[in-house]
């Protein structure tokens, strides 16, 4: 069936929380979290971002998240590191 998907993204200045993590200015963005959602899951990869040319390097993955709606609707248990996620990564690209 035609699977409907929603994409969202969020920028970060660094890999760990700091004072401007919530609202980094463009020039300070170093990482972009790209999310892909369906009714079954939410997959997010946090990749290197270059503000000077607005490009994201999907080969340079800093972290990942994967939550399955059926077993973890509140997104409390990230299983990204527990399973192979290549198919999700390819789909996001």
């Amino acid at each position: 069936s035609e699977e409907s998907v929603a994409f969202s993204q969020y920028p970060r200045p660094a890999d760990t929380p700091q004072w401007n993590s919530d609202k980094p200015k463009l020039k300070d963005i170093r990482i972009m979290g790209y999310s892909m959602r369906t009714v079954d899951y939410r997959y997010t990869v946090w990749v290197r971002f270059y503000p000077n040319n607005f490009s994201a390097d999907f080969e340079d993955v800093h972290a990942g998240e994967l939550y399955m709606v059926e077993t973890d609707p509140n997104q409390d248990y990230n299983i990204y590191n527990n399973i192979s996620h290549g198919v999700f990564h390819k789909k996001l690209l």
Binding site: S4, V5, A6, F7, S8, Q9, Y10, P11, R12, A14, D15, T16, P17, Q18, W19, N20, S21, D22, K23, P24, K25, L26, I29, I31, M32, G33, S35, R37, T38, V39, R42, T44, W46, F54, A56, H62, A63, G64, E65, N74, Q75, D76, Y77, N78, I79, Y80, N81
Partner: protein
């Protein structure tokens, strides 16, 4: 000859609404709108922060195309001269009007809410907007504070009112003007609450006795959450009441009892917003415009109420990106109501309690970036073409897709009702 459009966008509203199954909230007027609408259970913003989300859905372009991830650039200068949804309606003969917070103020909308491109007249902003972050609440020892939790006596507020009350009054005035001059209109009304500070008429707190308020089901920071994914909710920490708690950075947590106070006030602010929406829709009835006006109700993004140890938005979690999204389309989502019958009678959240089922519900995963093509199709305008992969040089195209074809389920429901002689599932239920 195309319907009018009433576009209601709410700041930082997650779907804590009766029509989304929340058992605690009192939101009868928004639930009543939902009972006549198709309601999308899985609608998501493209970025969970004000300006980037609003520029995205108002231009129909994703943040990587608007290149607005913060608050400090105007897309027409910084990315491309993209047409906006209101601009498109204006260019198609509509009078377009903005009340309250529709575009995010400041550079991101050229310090003018993108007027005159998007709007036929200068946008209205309530005069009391400027007091939003002043020390107006939490009086102790004769001193006032700029608290996060901020129930107030409205009569004691500057000018004796609040921004969203003024916005509702102005929107009602504009509805009556448009009724008189019989022109097609696109009226966008942007409500500030429940965006922080949680400043609302104090009587609304009675709707939510503290003993009924629980913590979030998962108030801890998940062990496997990558540190880059966590947002340290800095804006909350700068409010006077939170500052006084000396909460540790970055993971806190807020004290349990204060978490419950925040959640209580968020719900109270939602009921206060519901009253504003109720008055606005009641005025649509009064003006005799309910049968000729499409109503859209949505938010710019959600808000974390303590889940995952987080507050505010600034993340990719569902609680921060999922938004309410519902469309009331006369003759499509409900049968037309006999002339003179009210469609949206005002309901008092202090006395009106009941559950309700939306006219139609779609579980399809949809995006706010689809608002532009969807509303164009509903109003009978040419749907803007889909953007190619890069569209910086293309003024008119969309990176969303019209979701009108998901409405069909609601039509089926309407047909069923006609068969059993009940055209108004809301009243029948």
């Amino acid at each position: 000859d195309g319907m009018n459009v009433l576009f209601i966008v709410v700041d930082d509203l997650r779907p804590v609404l009766g029509c989304y199954g929340d058992k605690l909230v009192k939101s009868p007027n928004i639930d009543q709108l939902a009972s006549r609408s198709v309601v999308f259970s899985n609608a998501y913003a493209q970025q969970a922060v004000c300006a980037p989300s609003r520029v995205s859905f108002l231009t129909g372009r994703r943040p990587d195309t608007t290149r607005l991830y913060d608050f400090y650039s105007y897309w027409r200068v910084h990315a491309g001269n993209y047409s906006t949804m209101p601009q498109y309606f204006k260019e198609n003969g509509y009078v377009t009007l903005s009340v309250g917070k529709v575009f995010h103020p400041g550079i991101s909308s050229n310090h003018s809410d993108d007027y005159p491109y998007s709007w036929s007249v200068p946008p209205f902003h309530p005069s009391t907007e400027k007091y939003e972050n002043d020390k107006t609440c939490g009086e102790k020892g004769g001193k006032l504070y700029a608290n996060l939790v901020c129930p107030v006596d409205v009569t004691e507020m500057p000018s004796g009112t609040l921004p969203d009350i003024q916005s509702t009054e102005e929107a009602i005035r504009l509805l009556n003007v448009m009724k008189t001059n019989k022109k097609k209109f696109f009226l966008a009304v942007g409500y500030h609450k429940p965006h922080i500070p949680l400043r609302y008429p104090q009587e609304f707190i009675k709707l939510y006795p503290l003993e009924n308020i629980t913590l979030a089901p998962d108030p801890w920071v998940p062990k496997q959450l990558p540190s880059v994914a966590y947002n340290p909710w800095m804006d909350i920490r700068q409010r006077d009441d939170v500052k006084a708690l000396n909460v540790s950075f970055p993971y806190g947590p807020l004290p349990d009892d204060f978490q419950r106070l925040v959640r209580q006030s968020y719900y109270a602010a939602v009921s206060y917003l519901d009253v504003q929406v109720g008055r606005l829709l009641n005025a649509l009835d009064d003006a005799g415009l309910s049968n000729s006006t499409i109503v859209v109700f949505t938010a710019d993004h959600g808000w974390s109420l303590g889940e995952h140890g987080e507050w505010a938005k600034y993340s990719n979690f569902d609680v921060a990106t999922r938004v309410p999204l519902m469309f009331y389309v006369p003759g499509m989502t409900t049968s037309s109501v006999p002339r003179g019958e009210r469609v949206f009678p005002y309901l008092d959240p202090f006395s009106h309690v009941w559950g309700t089922e939306p006219q139609g519900r779609s579980k399809k995963v949809v995006e706010l970036v689809s608002l532009f093509p969807t509303l164009a199709e509903l109003a009978g305008l040419q749907v803007p073409p889909a953007c190619p992969e890069t569209s910086f040089q293309i003024p008119l195209c969309t990176e969303g897709t019209s979701i009108v074809h998901y409405f069909n389920a609601s039509e089926e429901k309407v047909e069923e009702e006609k068969k059993d002689g009940c055209y108004d599932s809301y009243r029948c239920s």
